[in-house]
Amino acid sequence: MLARTMHDIRYDAIHDEIVIPNQFAQAILTFSGDARGEAAPTRVIQGSASQLTRPDRLDIDPVHNEIVVPNSDSVVVFAREATGNAKPLRVIRGPRTLIKGSSALAVDPVNNVIIVASQVRPPGRAQNNYTPTTNALLVFDRTADGDVAPLRVITGETTGLHIINQLQVYPPKGWVIVTQTTTDLEPEPPGIFIGVWSYKDEGDVAPRWKIAGPNSRLKKPRGVVLNPKNKELIVADMRLNSVLTYYFPAIF
């Protein structure tokens, strides 16, 4: 039930499960943590009630037992143990949310926020289809539901945000870690970096840390995960077909 194109994978340490989106089948697949070989998923969320449109990425909230999915112009939240044609518990959608073409998200169960990578039409501009969009991190209350405005918006030239990929959070410090590739169309695009913001940041602000440069060897980072025990930041680089691990104690 896996596809060749999967853009997220999350491990739930509390329940020892792996959760993966299959965007082609509009499905969320949950596997046992020790799954190997041709193992069947233990649960599959899929069907008309799910409202799943393009589940390219996701995150797990093992504390509140939820799976949170960016779903094009909305965010859908399922019970962790939902299976089959399940309805979302909550849907964040509508003009006030500013969500448009959401590409990734991360949920911080400690600071009670969901951070959504999205295209937005800049506030103050006409909110119609002719208004150019820009990339943004939208910070929502974790329990947001319906057409609600984000608590904060991080966007603008200073942020350097453009084509945001996998997100992670580090709840003890409130960090949001962002991979971004600047363009999908170039094999080695300029301006790529791993950025670290606080979930409390707002507006056109630069990341607290920006990881990039020739020593890093990064070409097109699309995935990031943390290993707090070893103070490591681990990156999947699409162009290099590689996984690179950095010792980065500053953020832990």
């Binding site: 039930m1 596809a3 060749r4 194109t5 999967m6 853009h7 997220d8 994978i9 999350r10 491990y11 020892d16 792996i18 993966i20 299959n22 965007q23 082609f24 089948a25 509009q26 020790d34 041709e38 599959v44 899929q46 008309s48 799943l52 449109t53 990425r57 779903n71 094009s72 996998q166 999908d184 170039e186 094999p187 630069a206 990341p207 607290r208 920006k210 990881i211 020739p214 020593n215 890093s216 060897r217 699309r222 995935g223 990031v224 995960v225 943390l226 681990i234 990156v235 999947a236 699409m238 162009r239 077909n241 590689s242 996984v243 690179l244 691990t245 950095y246 010792y247 980065f248 500053a250």
Partner: protein, 429 residues
């Protein structure tokens, strides 16, 4: 001092006071308590310009990233070619292999055979580098008449690039065609001079004139709810019987909307919410000139078929046999072109002697009565007799790495996870 200079000093003092008022944190001992009135003027005031000190202070307040350029302490990377698709040029006696790991097209002597004690075989030539536009190269075709190599890029550049027989190193393709994002398989109909592609992301098949280039649009499109297309990969064409064969992994969803351009598939942006389905893998068969929401004329699907992530297809028209690189269970399956439903393959190459490992490419070489397989799992291409069946050793093997070296198989990683219980990294490809 003229009155205008007094005014300027006064304004600067006021600005500085205002800056102090706003930037000093609450509780700071230094608070602004009063501002002296401006001295009398003659009524002429100069245009205000910010004081250089105030500007510098404001800039200092604006956050600047702490940019770091750390050296990785560990890197997981496979520095050896990993072969996705294969083609055989029976005229020039060459085996062409797509290396999806290092983004190369490698051309080997057809009869090359890497001895067990030799680490690798040198190719005759390698096409690779930024000018080639080769990246995430999956589908492959070679024109027996001209020797031209057709290479499909699945991601990023959205191009199919065509190279001549002299191409070597970092060279621009002779021509390139803009193909939809997520194009995977290619088949060329040499009778009707057409190129056919599967579009993995959009569950579609598009057909172009064989010599189409640049922004030339497709001339036909198969896409729709009744097509049975589900994450399509390999494709083959039988011009004699006017049929198209398509290998499907099984993931699918419906699309609805107005096409952006003639015969251009509706993309994932037009996905119908909640319409996704997971079907068993299949081979769907269409009329060669089918268009739109065409139903397959036959479907090979079911547990007896043993299909499991079927990838590249190769069709032997003379014997009506369809060869399938069956990635999921490391086998090569052979079906009759006329098979339908839950049909068992007529032959299957599978087992430890075969050394097959995640084969995603297959090419039947009818001239030399051989079938050549590219293995994503072990850096090799393996050559069998065309009629080989069961657990048989290959006739020859071309290796890019020492015998037994497994491929890491990290391909286009879009994310990463960390299993803290097992201290393991999870990498979807």
């Amino acid at each position: 001092m003229t009155s205008s200079r007094w005014v300027r000093h006064g304004v600067r003092l006021a600005v500085f006071a205002a800056v102090l008022f706003w930037v000093l944190p609450p509780g700071d001992p230094y608070r602004l308590v009063s501002v002296d009135p401006l001295p009398p003027t003659d009524g002429t005031a100069c245009e205000w310009s910010p004081h250089a000190g105030a500007v510098a202070y404001a800039q200092a307040l604006k956050r600047v990233s702490n940019t770091v350029d750390p050296t990785p302490i560990r890197v997981i990377h496979d520095d050896v070619a990993t072969f996705s698709a294969v083609a055989v040029d029976a005229v020039r006696n060459e085996i062409i292999l797509q290396d999806e790991n290092l983004y190369e097209i490698r051309v080997y002597d057809r009869t090359a055979n890497t001895p067990p004690n030799v680490p690798m075989t040198e190719p005759r030539r390698i096409i690779s580098g930024p000018k080639t536009d080769v990246e995430f190269n999956c589908g492959l075709y070679v024109d027996q008449a001209t020797g031209e190599i057709y290479s499909v890029n699945n991601d990023t550049t959205d191009k199919t690039v065509i190279f001549g027989t002299a191409a070597k190193g970092d060279v621009a393709p002779d021509r390139a065609l803009h193909t939809p994002h997520g194009t995977y398989g290619i088949a060329v109909d040499e009778v009707n001079k057409e190129m056919l592609f599967t579009i993995e992301h959009d569950n579609a098949v598009v057909t172009y004139p064989k010599f189409a280039k640049d922004e030339e649009p497709p001339i036909r499109l198969i896409q729709g709810d009744h097509t049975g297309l589900a994450d399509p990969h390999g494709i083959a064409v039988d011009p004699a019987r006017n049929l198209i064969f398509v290998a499907n992994h099984g993931s699918t969803h419906k699309v609805a909307g107005k096409p952006q351009a003639p015969n251009w598939p509706l993309t994932r942006s037009f996905a119908v919410p909640g319409s996704g389905q997971l079907w068993p893998p299949s081979i769907t068969v269409y009329e060669r000139t089918a268009v739109g929401d065409a139903r397959p004329v036959r479907t090979i699907q079911g547990p007896l078929t043993r299909l499991n992530w079927p990838a590249q297809l190769s069709y032997d028209a003379a014997r009506d046999e369809l060869f399938v690189a069956n990635d999921g269970d490391s086998s090569v399956l052979v079906f009759r072109g006329s098979d339908s439903g839950n049909a068992a393959p007529v032959r299957a190459i599978k087992g430890p002697k075969t050394t097959l490992s995640n084969p995603t490419g297959v090419w039947v070489d009818v001239k030399n009565d051989e079938v050549v397989v590219s293995n994503m799992g072990n850096h090799s291409a393996t050559v069998f007799a065309r009629t080989a069946t069961g657990d048989v050793a290959p006739l020859r093997t071309i290796r890019a790495a020492p015998l037994g070296k497994k491929a890491l198989a990290i391909g286009n990683p879009g994310a990463i996870g960390y299993d803290s219980k097992r201290d393991e990294l999870l990498v979807p490809n």
